[in-house]
């Protein structure tokens, strides 16, 4: 057995060539992790949204809240459904909301659609995670709004700023977070916003709090069975799942396609380097063979070298990708056609996948050269010197 020391000493000895290969595989890994981080960040933006015990009701046939609209009468029927929880002081835990979209300018001057949600006081009981990060919450009747913290950053909105929403002017009194995808929205009072957008008396969605996920599915059945309502009901996580999948799915596919293609390219590079290593060390190999090392152990050594190159390159790429985590960005939610802000996330899975990809690249790229190294005749090897 050739000592492992020989392997890494070799890599170090030819560090110029080895580093170039390492860097090129590293970049492949960086790209792969980068795309996965986009998808991971988008997913995470939706993942913390919604409670499996909360049922969201929209008009039948709609995919997103802002497509849906129904009259107050239906909302009243919904809040009276059996199975809807009540707070300690007996209030029904339900929230009727109106969701509209308005064009806003981002801080960089480009435009985007922003979801504007009008809520009633009951909305907060259904979102225990809601927290004000700056300023205070809006007060009904005073033309005030709060902006999701990450969205506020994207739009350059600050507490105290005024903006026209629909027909009226609203003042930003706070920013909020802790409610997942809602962090990409603007919230205000149901009546204030409904009036300004002329949606008074209509709801986009109604959220109903059930006691448990099991109770939620019973509640969904009850809602669906009601002949008076032309609505559909699903749990909050189900609702956001569709948006998450639709919006991030293509990045995952893209990431994988890119990774496979780039890895093939990198395999060629790795093979090239290893062939050169083998060629440059012909005399060494001959000497090793002459000393009595077996073909298999020479093959093993070179193979190990390629794998090591891959692993180190993978680690290098993963390291390069870590700063990506600081990037806060946003794109179009492919279901609601409105802004969804998110932070890139190099999940452990993405990092591991990247390193794995690099290792496979090393293995595939090193296999043939290693085999070739062991095949040569001792005499040929020594003569070449």
């Amino acid at each position: 057995m050739i000592p492992i020391k020989y392997t890494y000493r070799n890599l170090f000895e030819r560090r110029g060539v080895a580093f170039m290969t390492l860097a090129s595989i590293g970049f492949v890994v960086l790209v792969y992790i980068g795309v996965l981080a986009l998808a991971g960040g988008l997913r995470a933006a939706f993942a913390d949204t919604g409670d499996p015990s909360v049922v969201i009701v929209m008009r039948d046939g709609t995919r997103a809240e802002m497509e849906s609209s129904y009259a107050q009468e239906s909302h009243r029927l919904l809040t009276a459904m059996p199975g809807v929880e009540r707070t300690a002081d007996g209030a029904v835990m339900a929230s009727g909301e109106t969701v509209t979209i308005q064009i806003f300018k981002r801080i960089d001057g480009t435009e985007t659609n922003v979801m504007v949600r009008g809520v009633e006081p009951g909305a907060f009981a259904l979102r225990p995670g809601f927290e004000i990060t700056e300023g205070r919450v809006f007060e009904p009747g005073r033309g005030e709004i709060v902006v999701g913290r990450s969205l506020a950053g994207r739009l350059g909105l600050r507490v105290g700023d005024e903006r026209e929403l629909g027909r009226n002017t609203f003042r930003v009194v706070g920013t909020f977070a802790g409610v997942g995808a809602h962090g990409s929205e603007i919230w205000g009072d149901y009546r204030d916003l409904g009036d300004s957008f002329r949606r008074s008396g209509f709801y986009s969605s109604t959220r109903l709090q059930a006691a448990s996920p099991a109770a939620a599915s019973d509640l969904i059945e009850t809602v669906k069975a009601d002949q008076r309502l032309h609505v559909q009901a699903l749990t909050e996580p189900e609702y956001y799942e569709l948006q998450s999948e639709t919006s991030s799915g293509q990045f995952i596919v893209l990431g994988n396609v890119l990774a496979v293609l780039m890895a093939i390219g990198a395999c060629f590079a790795a093979a090239n380097t290893m062939y050169a290593q083998v060629a440059a060390r012909a005399r060494e190999i001959g000497t090793l063979r002459a000393l009595g090392f077996k073909r298999r152990s020479i093959m093993g050594s070179f193979f190990l070298e390629a794998v090591l190159l891959g692993v180190v390159a993978g680690g290098f790429g993963a390291l390069l990708s870590l700063p990506l985590n600081a990037i806060q960005t946003g794109t179009m939610n492919q279901v609601t056609f409105s802004e969804i802000t998110f932070q890139l996330r190099t999940t452990p899975f993405a990092l591991f996948s990247g390193i794995f990809l690099a290792t496979v690249t090393g293995v595939l790229g090193g296999l043939l050269p290693a085999f070739g190294a062991s095949r040569q005749k001792i005499t040929d090897l020594l003569r070449e010197a």
Partner: protein, 381 residues
């Protein structure tokens, strides 16, 4: 010289092949990325400067009254106005391949603004005459396997009505992406909804494109004090606003492209350096034989340039084939409605990058080879 370059390339076939293959692969990815990026941008490449779009100033989710159509027509320089509504809805199921743009239009005025679609006159008349008729692009009918007379049902979502439509006309357009949509009567939906008298957008055709800014200003001023303020913009700006909504995604694509370029540069430079180093002695022999520094320089650069050119050609060849093969797949992933095509810009960029990488990666080893003192080179033996 040429012969030397060729011989040198062929000397280590494996290495030349591997380098070329990795370069080709990288350019393949790069151009594919460019194609996807193009498809993602909703850019209206038809660039009809004489077309404007008027919509509700709040956002597209808010409609405009029917009466605006007549008022917009009174603006100077406007020769035609037609409404267009994004119906959306669901055809069959939510799968991406069953998603295609569905618009409701007014067949009476549609062609006065959208004059660039090619119709069969008889078919168009049949489409205009039947309230439940729809028109589809050639490519879409091929994908869906529809023929004239077929009936489809679209379940409404934004508009809470289900519509049953009969295919009466098939239109064609220069750009295949534009053939992946259907048009049907807005009257049909209006009546089913109880005549709310609304439209999502109005499309204006101008007599003189130069006058667009004036028309935009006039249209916005016209409804300044009404309940529904409007926003007017060129068709191009309207399309660009959808691309803008995607945000930094295209920027990320560019970053990915950059990372790929860096990595192929490293790969190719690496190989060229290896090739040059291997030949140190040989270069010295050539010099001894009377070859000048410049010639040695040219030889090494020529070699890497050849790798660059061949690799680019190979990679783009791949892309051309792949686009044909992968289009359905890419569509399934839901990338854009624009259709996929390898346009000149992507092509030029890829070839430029391929060749520059070839050139640049040859420069350092070439200079090193040329600089080498003959005695040093020979000593290394």
């Amino acid at each position: 010289m040429i012969k030397l370059i060729r011989r040198n390339l062929l000397r280590n076939k494996r290495r030349t092949f591997l380098t070329m293959a990795s370069l080709a692969m990288a350019l393949f990815i790069l151009s594919l990325l460019g194609v996807v990026n193009d498809a993602l941008s909703f850019a209206d490449e038809s660039d009809f400067q004489d077309r404007l779009v008027v919509r509700n100033a709040i956002s597209l989710t808010f409609p405009l009254p029917e009466a605006y159509e007549q008022r917009l027509r009174t603006i100077d320089n406007v020769i035609a106005v037609t409404p267009q509504n994004w119906f959306q809805g669901v055809y069959k199921d939510q799968r991406p391949e069953n998603f295609f743009p569905r618009f409701t239009v007014d067949p009476e005025t549609f062609r006065s603004v959208f004059y660039d679609y090619a119709w069969n006159e008889e078919e168009y008349e049949a489409f205009a005459a039947q309230r439940t008729a729809f028109a589809a692009g050639r490519e879409l009918t091929e994908i869906q396997g529809w023929s004239i007379g077929d009936i489809i049902t679209i379940k409404g979502d934004i508009f809470p009505v289900d519509v049953e439509l009969q295919l009466r006309a098939i239109f064609e357009f220069d750009e295949p992406g534009q053939e992946r949509q259907i048009f049907f009567h807005r009257r049909y939906v209006e009546e089913a909804m109880g005549n709310p008298g609304q439209n999502g957008t109005y499309w204006l055709r101008l007599d003189d494109p130069e006058g667009a800014p004036a028309v935009i200003a006039a249209a916005e001023a016209m409804f300044e004090n009404s309940d529904n303020q409007v926003r007017a913009e060129t068709a191009e700006a309207f399309a660009a606003s959808f691309t803008e909504m995607l945000g930094n995604i295209q920027f990320f694509f560019s970053m990915i492209g950059l990372a790929i370029v860096i990595s192929i540069f490293l790969i190719t430079a690496n190989t060229m350096a290896m090739a040059a180093r291997e030949r140190t002695t040989e270069v010295s022999v050539l010099r001894t034989l009377g070859f000048r520094r410049n010639q040695v320089l040219g030889m090494v650069i020529g070699e890497s340039l050849a790798v660059g050119v061949l690799g680019s050609a190979l990679g783009l060849g791949f892309t051309a084939v792949a686009i044909r093969g992968a289009t359905p797949f890419l569509e399934q992933m839901g990338f854009g409605f624009g259709g996929f095509a390898l346009d000149a810009q992507v092509l030029v960029t890829a070839v430029t990058i391929g060749i520059s990488v070839g050139l640049l990666s040859g420069v350092f080893p070439a200079v090193a080879a040329a600089r080498l003192k003959i005695v040093d080179g020979l000593r290394r033996l």
